[in-house]
């Protein structure tokens, strides 16, 4: 008995030394790898809804958001800079003359760019923002483009979709960072006042929002997701003709694509909506030279998503696997991340963000450390829309997609 007790007596200090060697310490790397932040603004009447996020050269993040303007039909512009740990650094509210900020938040010449419009003239302006928000320049485009709806970076130029309310045209343009429009083509949305009503409502606060988008098949045709021929459609074009190369038609304003990501040639990752239902298509062939309908592409139905859900698609590599990340929002007001194998279209895993308060997705990007940053709206106290950021480390992502 005594020997046993003595053995125990000597064994325990050894164990103590072993365990005390495992001290938990916070490191800068840990703080950057994973965080979850809600950016509060204590103004009761303020609504800040993020649009897009981009990583800056210092490892931090720049967020483009829209904010409610009490005396305007349109939304104002809000910019926020946080550091690599997600800690708030600075914010800027642009003059209320400038409204309707439009993503993407694009990087060119070491600056960040996005489009907005003048509240009175509805003319499109290009905004250049330095990373620290100390230098912000707003310049009108030389061409009289109105109602900017979506933009993306294509090489060294911006591919802008705008709406010409006078001629009732969806206009796709290439814009240089200095504001010069190098190419532009309009596409007829149809005749009649009721045709452009949903488009104008999209720009007005509180109206139904459409997933306008622009892009380009690598080395191939340009495309935009917008109104054409009375229907919310995916339109392919070479920008040389007012007749599209091909169209995937939606269902008036009740159906169409909610997100499109070209992979290669005619292969796409996409999501579509149809009278409230949502379908994810991680591996779909869309012919850019034909006229088809979005209902021709069935996809995976996801009843858990809110009707006509916002969907963002990111192409990235996780744990050595080329992966498509679909980010959307659920009926339980969480942000859902669904991971698909790019090669096969098979679901690899899922992850849900946000509890206790309602959350909506705005954007998802890959970070320099191979993690993911999810930007969204958190309704603090269930009622105040504010920006939220979730940073997920690569190790955690690997666990999500590992089978």
């Amino acid at each position: 008995m005594y020997r046993r007790f003595l053995l125990t007596l000597w064994l325990l200090p050894v164990l103590v030394m072993f365990f005390t060697s495992c001290v938990e310490e916070t490191t800068p790397e840990l703080e950057e790898e994973k965080f979850a932040r809600l950016y509060d603004d204590n103004r009761f009447n303020e609504s800040i809804i993020p649009i897009d996020v981009a990583q800056t050269t210092d490892g931090g993040y720049l967020v483009l958001a829209k904010r409610r303007l009490p005396e305007s039909h349109f939304t104002g512009i809000y910019l926020m800079k946080v550091n690599s740990r997600g800690e708030f650094e600075a914010a800027q509210e642009l003059d209320v003359q400038y409204v309707n900020p439009v993503g993407e938040l694009m990087v060119a010449d070491g600056n960040h760019y996005f489009f907005c419009m003048d509240e009175l003239t509805v003319q499109t302006h290009l905004v250049r923002v330095s990373e620290n928000l100390e230098d912000i320049a707003v310049n009108p485009l030389q061409a009289g483009l109105t109602y900017p709806a979506a933009a993306s970076l294509q090489g060294n130029e911006f591919l802008l979709l705008s709406y010409d309310h006078m001629e009732k045209l969806s206009v796709l343009s290439l814009v240089r960072p200095d504001g010069v429009v190098t190419a532009s083509q309009g596409y007829d949305i149809g005749v009649g006042d009721e045709v452009d009503e949903p488009i104008i409502n999209h720009f007005i606060g509180g109206g139904k929002k459409f997933p306008f988008q622009t892009g380009r098949i690598p080395g191939g045709a340009y495309f935009f997701n917008g109104f054409y021929n009375y229907t919310f459609s995916l339109v392919f074009t070479d920008l040389n003709s007012e007749e599209p190369m091909g169209v995937v038609q939606g269902q008036h304003d009740d159906g169409g694509f909610s997100a499109v990501l070209p992979i290669v040639s005619t292969k796409f990752a996409a999501a579509r909506f149809n009278f409230g239902d949502n379908f994810l298509l991680p591996n779909v062939v869309l012919p850019p030279n034909a006229i088809t309908s979005s209902v021709d592409y069935p996809g995976n139905t996801l009843p858990e998503l809110v009707p006509n859900a916002t969907v963002k698609i990111l192409r990235t590599t996780i744990d050595g696997t080329q992966t498509l990340v679909f980010a959307s929002e659920t009926r339980s007001k969480q942000i859902a991340l669904l991971f698909y194998d790019e090669a096969t279209g098979a679901l690899l895993g899922s992850h849900y963000l946000g509890f206790s308060n309602p959350f909506e997705v705005a954007s998802v990007i890959a970070t320099e450390d191979d993690g993911l940053l999810v930007c969204g709206t958190a309704y603090l106290a269930g009622r105040f829309p504010r920006i939220c950021l979730f940073k997920l480390p690569k190790e955690e992502l690997a666990e999500k997609v590992r089978r």
Partner: protein, 303 residues
């Protein structure tokens, strides 16, 4: 886990106590031998008993906790007001916990070396306060109060040196040493309450608490120093004890890698600070001698 631990502690204690020389059956035989001992031999045995002894026993009691922040973290990052307004307010030494301890002590000439593995449950509370208002309309106002209770369970393993100040029947002592605490389990409870002035009047509300398992949010182990005072009272073969100790945590009790690992808590903007944990520990118990028991389980100790 908790049950197994308790059973193990109690079994070890009882086994040790009843496996000593000098049980009831052999008591009568030894009684005769003792009666023939010379006075010198008795004195020598008595001295041996007093000078060198093993003690084993159980004690239990309550504890109070203070969390000491070493680095602030917050899931809520203020964009238009000072970050100091979003910091947590801690309640120090206000929430009661409990502990049960198996004490094994080697005593030698008023000095003791004591190993006291302890199952310890601690609680500490912090709060956040948020408010939204409109300077132009006093009615546009909402206040929210988040009260977060942390409940931790650790196996604390202290190794203490104790000095008996006197060698009397009532022996006051002082003790000091170091400890390691191994996490067994943890949980968090968040209660959200507030006052809404914007929905037609002053309306106070509170929601159902969010209760989550939070073992991953805490460090698997931490260590520190401890010291305290107390007293033993000799009653027959046993010593009754009362002691008050202060456990001074030296290392982080939080797991930095998992700070944002609980989505339910991240959703309400909770992120635990880096912190150490101090405890005031009050215990009562009794210990049994393991050597030189005499007749009828009676110690050869006249004091």
């Amino acid at each position: 886990m908790k049950g197994l631990l308790l059973i193990a502690l109690v079994s070890f204690s009882l086994t040790s106590a009843f496996s000593q020389p000098g049980g009831n059956k052999s008591g009568s035989r030894k009684k005769n031998r003792v009666s023939y001992m010379t006075k010198d031999r008795m004195q020598r045995e008595e001295n041996k008993f007093l000078e060198k002894q093993w003690w084993l026993g159980l004690k239990g009691g309550t504890n109070l906790t203070k969390a000491i922040v070493t680095k602030h973290f917050s899931g809520v990052s203020p964009a238009n007001y000072p970050i100091a307004d979003a910091l947590k307010e801690y309640e120090d030494f206000k929430s009661y916990g409990s502990q049960v301890t198996l004490e094994g002590t080697f005593y030698f000439r008023q000095l003791s070396l004591s190993l006291q593995p302890t199952y310890s449950r601690s609680r500490f509370v912090y709060s956040n306060y948020y408010a939204w208002s409109d300077p132009e309309n006093a009615g546009h106002s909402l206040e929210l109060h988040y009260r977060q209770t942390q409940k931790t369970e650790h196996l604390v393993i202290p190794l203490l040196v104790r000095y008996d100040i006197t060698a009397t029947r009532l022996r006051p002592f002082i003790q000091a040493g170091a400890f390691a605490a191994l996490l067994i389990n943890a949980g968090k409870e968040v209660t959200i309450s507030g006052t809404d002035y914007a929905s037609g009047g002053e309306h106070e509300f509170s929601g159902d608490p969010i209760i989550v398992g939070a073992k991953d949010l805490f460090a698997p182990a931490f260590y520190g120093l401890m010291g305290g005072v107390g007293a033993h009272y000799h009653q027959g073969n046993i010593r009754l004890s009362l002691d008050i100790s202060y456990r001074y945590g030296l290392t982080n009790i939080v797991s930095p890698a998992n700070r944002y690992g609980n989505d339910r808590l991240a959703g309400v903007g909770d992120a635990m600070d880096d912190m150490t944990m101090d405890n005031i520990v009050i215990s009562v118990g009794c210990v049994f001698p393991l050597r030189f028991l005499g007749n009828a389980y009676k110690a050869v100790d006249n004091k």
